[in-house]
Symmetry: C2
Subunit: 992 residues, 2 copies
């Protein structure tokens, strides 16, 4: 059938108000697309049996005489939807191909069915909340292929939490809606339902959901929509913490003490009031009690048992109140208790105090777990407890305020990681509630969409679909930019994927000038090349959108986050470079200083620009601080210090070698030998010497005496070493660049033929000279070109560089072999399997064992994978470093062991996190470093033999994801940088 502006849309008078309201929204969608005034009309059931051309009828089981009649007439099989949670059937009437029936199993079933029609029409859930203007069209064709019965959602309650809402969301809603009012929440509820969510934690930072509507209007409207409300984890019985401050008092029925021991009657009154007021709506009631504003309720002297008993007392009272006020059938009343912070201790108990987990008073109450606030699961349901009555929930974060650093102003979630972690949660039985903290909501459109779609359909978007994250990104683009051509969509994909990975690799708030090393691995340059490639794509795409109705949407969903993230990353890297260059006296530092200033200006300009789009619709929404968090909060945040260098009074050359930090000015008294050793690494064919100007005077340079070279320095270097300049000649002054890179490339075939190498290593000296100064750079190069070989120095070679320059040499070297998870071979295992997950993590791939709920024994069928590497000689001390994702043990105290065996040796158990590690505990330094660095590292020493060696890795504890293996000579220092060897996803910047 073809729906056009003449089609009829119907519901019955008895339809649920929420269905009617949503039908109205869908009618608006049609009106917009068809540019015609289209409305759902009320029609009596009897009249609906008359065919009247193209029409859509929305009905809910139990709320539709029309549907009942169809069933009794045998024209609709009610078993398709009956007693199913939030399901709808989308089909033509059997005898009327021009009538589309949307039949919901319940209110939200019908609503999802209605919004599915909008979906088919090409309307994005982000129509209002991200200005995704629907495409104008004249008709929508529905065919048999569109007919289906929806699945029961994978997770029962799926929602988000508007949090940390000042200054951004708060200012915005006060300006546009006069506060946290129903007028504003109307848009939030609609968004939630369009996204197939059903559950909300409202803003609660100086706002009161049940008072601000005005009055109860927020709660009433939510209930009408079918949005299930909770309060956050420390606000029991449908009341807000802000509310307590308003209502408490010695001369009130509530008393003043937030303490059930001291103020049992007052608190009971307070909670009863909340239940009486909001109990008539659909809620999941928060149970238990914490101290005011996220703190412990009892003092430091209370024992664990005191606390457990206290919570039992509280919950028992609350259950009793619920029976009194809502329903005698407690099981029919959705309730939850947060197993969070100190409550976790009470939940587990110890040998002296039985934990709450064994207490039947919690039966039927959903236990809300929480990841570590940084997207990494922790303390998942134990095997015996997984199927408890009431089930499990998960509180996840795309925004967080707390240690070690807060993040909120931009999306820094990479959905591949969310996929991997939340699929694991599902596997662990966390299927009752999924809630995600989205902060101000607005910068989180993309991951929020994914989170709710994943919760709705884990089979489609979960880890068992190896391409889930990538497919979802494309899906998100199709939904929001349906009119883009293929090239535009591809570019948008590159942009979304690019900025979210960069932001995942290091949260922007956790960047500082020292993160990406200014010289090591040239990683600063590599990352800035990546950001440059993203910005270049935007610069190409953006003008073409100037008249596109999706321009504002693109700005919010793509342009702003990409530009703002790239700009901020650039700013911090430039600051690192600025500080390094200032330290060595290079006037290039001053160019960096100017560039930093431009970045700061851009950072502010982007916010102003965002606030101005669509007539100022989003003014205020981007007010959060971006940068320089010195504590977890933004109070002392600061743009980087900018350093300025005063040019030297006389011409001054400054030379650095390769990726080293050491600089020499080559004067008679301060000349230093510089060493380049990275060409010993078979994986490295190219490096450089960087020449800086330390003055504003002209420098006349020569390389091994040659001063006129334009491209290659010929005849004065060994033929196996190309030495050349890209772009410009050797002479430069204040008008020319203050930084010049001499490219060095080794030709290993020529090197072998030259006979220059002793023990596979040759050396030559490149001398950079000015009139008065010169610097000798000793270049070491190896003949080996087998990229599997671990580059190691012989004792003789080490001795040559060990004195007096050992420190210089060893500290600056980057020798070693880097293997990616995707290099794993011979994946096997009887009891489970290893899978390589592509496109995940800091380095680009992960190796993880499934099922994730299982503990394995290397001696008994544990999944295993092999990594091969070669060494030239037997050696007793090679260091292997295993880099894993910053995941936490699935249960507390688990050290996340893996088994390792080199060349068939006995399997050794290696802990990937250290003893005493506590995921999510601010006092655990390894955890805190892990969430900032997005990795954990562990190392062991092993003997190796000449030739091929095999490192076999076995899974033992669940949850570990291996990302990289580093192999290198033990006992030598290793310049780590932040990334080390540039990950392929960063270095790959050509093309879309």
């Amino acid at each position: 059938m073809i729906i056009d502006k003449n089609a009829k849309l119907y519901f019955e008078p008895e339809a649920l108000p929420g269905v009617k309201r949503v039908a109205g929204k869908v009618a608006e969608d049609f009106s917009e697309c068809f540019e015609s005034d289209i409305k759902f009309a009320e029609k009596n059931p009897d009249d609906l049996f008359q065919p009247e051309g193209v029409r859509v009828i929305a009905a809910t089981l139990g709320h539709s005489a029309f549907l009942s009649k169809l069933i009794s007439d045998g024209k609709f099989d009610e078993n398709k939807i009956k007693d199913k949670w939030e399901v709808y059937s989308f089909e033509f009437l059997p005898d009327d191909n021009n009538t589309l029936l949307i039949a919901g199993s319940d209110k939200r079933g019908t609503i999802y069915g209605l919004f599915h029609l909008s979906e088919l029409l090409g309307v994005s859930p982000w129509k209002w909340f991200a200005d995704v203007v629907p495409e104008k069209k004249s008709s929508l064709e529905i065919t048999d292929k569109d007919c289906f019965v929806s699945k029961v959602p994978s997770v029962k309650y799926r929602g988000f939490f508007i949090n940390d809402e000042w200054p951004a969301f708060g200012n915005w809603t006060f300006e546009h809606f006069g506060g946290f009012t129903a007028e504003m929440y109307d848009h939030v509820f609609e968004l939630l339902l369009r996204l197939k969510g059903n559950y909300l934690w409202p803003a609660m930072w100086t706002s009161n959901f049940s008072l601000d509507g005005p009055g109860l209007e927020n709660a009433r409207l939510a209930d009408e929509y079918g949005v299930v409300m909770s309060n956050s984890h420390h606000e029991p019985c449908l009341r807000h913490s802000e509310e307590w401050d308003l209502i408490k008092g010695d001369d009130t029925p509530y008393g003043s003490a937030w303490n059930f021991d001291k103020n049992r009657e007052g608190l009971t009154n307070y909670w009863r009031g909340g239940l009486e007021r909001n109990g008539k709506f659909e809620n999941i009631i928060t149970m238990g009690m914490r101290g005011e504003r996220d703190s412990e309720v009892l003092g430091a002297t209370a024992t664990l048992k005191d606390n457990i008993d206290y919570i039992k007392d509280v919950v028992t009272t609350q259950n009793k109140l619920i029976k009194e006020t809502i329903s005698e059938d407690l099981d029919s009343v959705p309730r939850m208790i947060a197993i969070y912070k100190e409550v976790e201790k009470y939940f587990h108990g110890d040998e002296n105090a039985e934990g709450l987990k064994h207490w039947d008073g919690l039966d039927g109450i959903t236990c809300m777990l929480c990841e570590d606030n940084f997207g990494n699961l922790r303390t998942l349901p134990e095997d015996w407890h997984r199927d408890r009555k009431g089930g499990w929930g998960m509180y996840y974060h795309f925004d967080y305020h707390g240690d070690p650093i807060s993040y909120e102003w931009i999306n820094s979630t990479h959905i591949a990681r969310t996929c991997e972690q939340m699929s694991q949660a599902y596997e662990y039985g966390v299927r009752e509630i999924w809630i995600v903290n989205v902060g101000d909501l607005k910068p989180q459109e993309f991951p929020l969409s994914y989170f709710l779609d994943l919760a709705y359909d884990i089979d489609k978007w979960g880890i068992d679909n190896p391409n889930a994250a990538s497919e979802y990104t494309k899906h998100f683009i199709d939904v929001n930019f349906p009119t883009f051509d293929a090239a535009q969509k591809k570019t948008t994909y590159t942009l979304l994927e690019g900025y979210t990975r960069l932001n995942y690799t290091r949260k922007p708030e956790a960047l500082n000038p020292d993160v990406y090393d200014a010289t090591a691995y040239d990683e600063a340059f590599a990352v800035m090349s990546k950001t440059a490639s993203l910005k270049a794509r935007l610069v190409r795409l953006w003008p073409a959108l100037s008249n596109n109705p999706l321009k504002d949407a693109f700005y919010q969903l793509v342009y702003y986050p990409v530009m703002a993230a790239a700009n901020l990353i650039d700013m911090q890297i430039l600051a690192g470079k600025n500080h390094y260059l200032a330290g060595i006296g290079a006037v290039k530092a001053n160019e960096c200083a100017e560039a930093i200033r431009k970045c700061i200006e851009s950072d502010r300009e982007l916010v102003r620009e965002y606030h101005g789009i669509n007539g100022g619709k989003w003014n205020g929404m981007m007010l959060s601080e971006h940068i320089g968090f010195t504590h977890w909060n933004d109070e002392e945040c600061a743009y980087p210090i900018i350093m300025q260098v005063e040019p030297a009074n006389r011409p001054r050359m400054i030379v650095t070698a390769g990726h080293g930090k050491k600089a020499s000015q080559g004067g008679d008294w301060t000349r230093q030998r510089l060493i380049i050793d990275e060409l010993l690494n078979p994986n490295v064919n190219e490096t450089y010497i960087t020449i800086y100007n330390g003055s504003d005077k002209e420098l006349k340079l020569s390389v091994n005496g040659v001063s006129e070279a334009v491209y290659e320095v010929k005849d004065v270097t060994p033929d196996w070493l190309f030495v050349g300049i890209l772009g410009i000649g050797l002479e430069f002054n204040r008008l020319q660049p203050n930084e010049l890179r001499l490219i060095l490339k080794v030709d290993r075939e020529k090197l072998k033929a030259s006979g220059d190498a002793v023990d596979g290593v040759a050396t030559t000296t490149i001398t950079i000279s000015t009139e008065r100064t010169h610097v000798d750079v000793e270049v070491w190069a190896g003949t080996c070109d087998d990229k599997q070989v671990v580059p190691m120095l012989s004792k003789e070679q080490l001795a040559k560089v060990s004195n007096p320059l050992k420190k210089d040499f060893v500290v600056e070297n980057e020798l070693g072999l880097t293997l990616e998870a995707s290099d794993a071979k011979n994946l096997s295992g009887n009891e489970g399997e290893y899978r390589i997950i592509e496109g995940i993590g800091k380095y680009g791939s992960g190796l993880k064992a499934f099922p994730t709920t299982k503990y394995f024994d290397p001696a008994d069928g544990a999944p295993s994978a092999e990594f091969e590497f070669k060494v030239n000689d037997d050696s007793s001390d090679v260091e292997v470093t295993i880099i894993t994702a910053p995941s936490n043990p699935v249960v507390k105290g688990n050290s996340m062991q893996v088994g390792v065996s080199v060349n068939g040796s006995d399997v050794k158990r290696i802990a990937t996190v250290s003893e005493g590690y506590e995921g999510g505990e601010r006092t655990c330094p390894q955890w805190a470093a892990g969430v900032l660095n997005q990795e954990h590292r562990t190392s062991f020493i092993t003997p190796v033999k000449a030739g091929v060696n095999t490192l076999k890795v076995f899974t033992i504890d669940p949850g570990v994801m291996i990302e990289r293996i580093l192999i290198r000579q033990a006992g030598t220092e290793w310049t780590r940088g932040y990334l080390g060897k540039t990950p392929e996803w960063i270095s790959h910047i050509i093309g879309d």
Copy 2:
């Protein structure tokens, strides 16, 4: 008699050419002053007996028939001068009061007599070399009071060494004289003789004194003038190291090896050539041999005995060559050997190898000692050896290129220290040669004048005159600015004294942003107040000189060094402040940045200005680098890094307390308790809270709730604590200062009366607030106002601040009692005496024992002095720190002990330098730190009793000069700063 333009000036035809030449210079002086063409005329002795009005006759014993006739006529007592070194008689002819006879014992005696006449005329030695234009006058009266016989100079050979002459002196002389030519040396010789010196080491950095004249003209002219030449310490036999490079060669008679073992014949030829060429002139011949360019001659495998034998062989050969070429009577040929660097080892020998000092081959050769290159004596002649044949010389430095830092571009010598050290050298018998390295000569006019005057007359300008330094400074002003009025002279005195002390306190080249602490003791402010007061004096005085003929002289001798030094000190202090403020995010940092830029511009502008005065006469002379020496040489020198802060996006207050570094922004999450403790110190009545703006937004401040205060915050603080604002109110924004000091003054009388104090300590909190933030500053104040009391905290008080803020508190505190050397009492001793030397050292006074050649025993009449202090309670652990001048042991290995006794306890021996200390050894960190910091420190713990305690200090080893005693509670950290308590000479800045 009155000399006017009609007076006659005579010498005889047989007068020495040098005398004639100098007479010509004196005639020029008269010509200039009298503005008339005046010349010395040659007249036959017989004709001189005819009186002919006013006249001056210059004659030299043995070179004047006229004088011989006077003697034989009994009209001149030749014993006054006969056989005396460089003496002259200045007297009227017995029968002719109109004839002034200047009769010299020898050539230089007559020359000094002639220049003495110029002195009386008011002509400065610096007439040419610092443009000290003589005053025009019509006559000079000479009376009987002017008649005298000069003393034999205290030191026989007195001179300077032009060294490190590139880029400054070198560029200058090439531009003006085409090289290091006789035309230029003419001015140097004249200067030397006018300064009553007689001895010169010529420039030797790419120049050859005996080749550049052109040819031998430099040497010939020196000899004519009576200037005694040497080569520097490693250039034997009157040849230059540069010369060797020109002349050596395998096919020459000299060979190529600078090694007497391998090239005996060649070197013998080389040396013979030097002696034959220059031996006819007056020289002190450098003996012995070192490696080329200041290095060891034999390799590392040579034993001490090998080296000693080698030197003996060399010296024996050289003595033989001198006998052959110059005189059989070796003792008549002045020779010297430098006991310097490795030669010192050979001199002393060890148990296996008898040192050169016992070898009679050195008899008659002056042993040249050297201080530590930083003006501090070391390894002085031992008692038994003091009167050796040939005597001792001292090589001293006003300029140095070497570790730990070079200094040269400005005078950083304080003559009080030179007086003290060189007087000691004299006392130790170093009386044969004094030579001082003056670098480029030009910035060292003042200390060089002093050095040569001291060497000429140790009684007048040495340490036995307690006011020598101060009197000399006045004398220098009288000589060079005779026409200044009393006020101008006084100001000039303040300026000379001020800049030389500041430069002595820390050599400008050794300054960096971290030297003067940005906050501790407010010393940065104190030093900048001092430089400001000097600059203010200049600004007042300078315009008055605009038409003064002495303007250029004043510029060179006073204006430039004061301005340049003050500017550079300011620059470094501002950089320290800039870095500190940038670190805490105060936008005031940006004002500092601007100020630094101005200082950098001034630093360069001053050089340009200097190069332009007097028609460019000194162009090139100030080319040396000023700042940022990262190594001992200037190669990598750099202006300080300038840091820039980006203002925060929202209003931000930053508060610091007292002299502490800790800053708080007072936000909800980052607020920190700040503590002011310095008011516990009875010596401190006043401190401050500093409020910075961290943004460019207006801040509305209140103090304890008061927001309108203009002068004093009243009624909301205890009455014993004045809290007030100087100058401005509490409201400030971008147009107003970004830094505001709240002054805090304690009134101890009111504090006592208030009853607020417990155990003598009261505390109150000052709260600084803005709209959203506030900072609490806890102010601790003590009732004690006895300035002799050591402020100490009780255990209870310490406990109160010890956790968790111990570090903050203890690190930032400045508690303690500072006693100056001048506070010493009851100076006594039988075997010697302690003297308090005023106006010396880093802190302003020194306590030193005399005679300086003597070792003392505290049990047997050693000099002793007492320092009194008080404590409130018995305590077992008070720490006493003795700060001494950075002097070195008079003999190597001496630990410079002093004896200490507290309250009559047994005398304890305390070493003021640590074991293994080696003065002048670059590898000795304590020495290197000492010459940079201008002090040594040593500490000991002692019990004390409640009430008055007496620390008695005894001299043990010679040479120690105590400058300060610090007494404080042991075990607490102490913020040192660079100066600690501001020395009185710095804080005293009002008036001249």
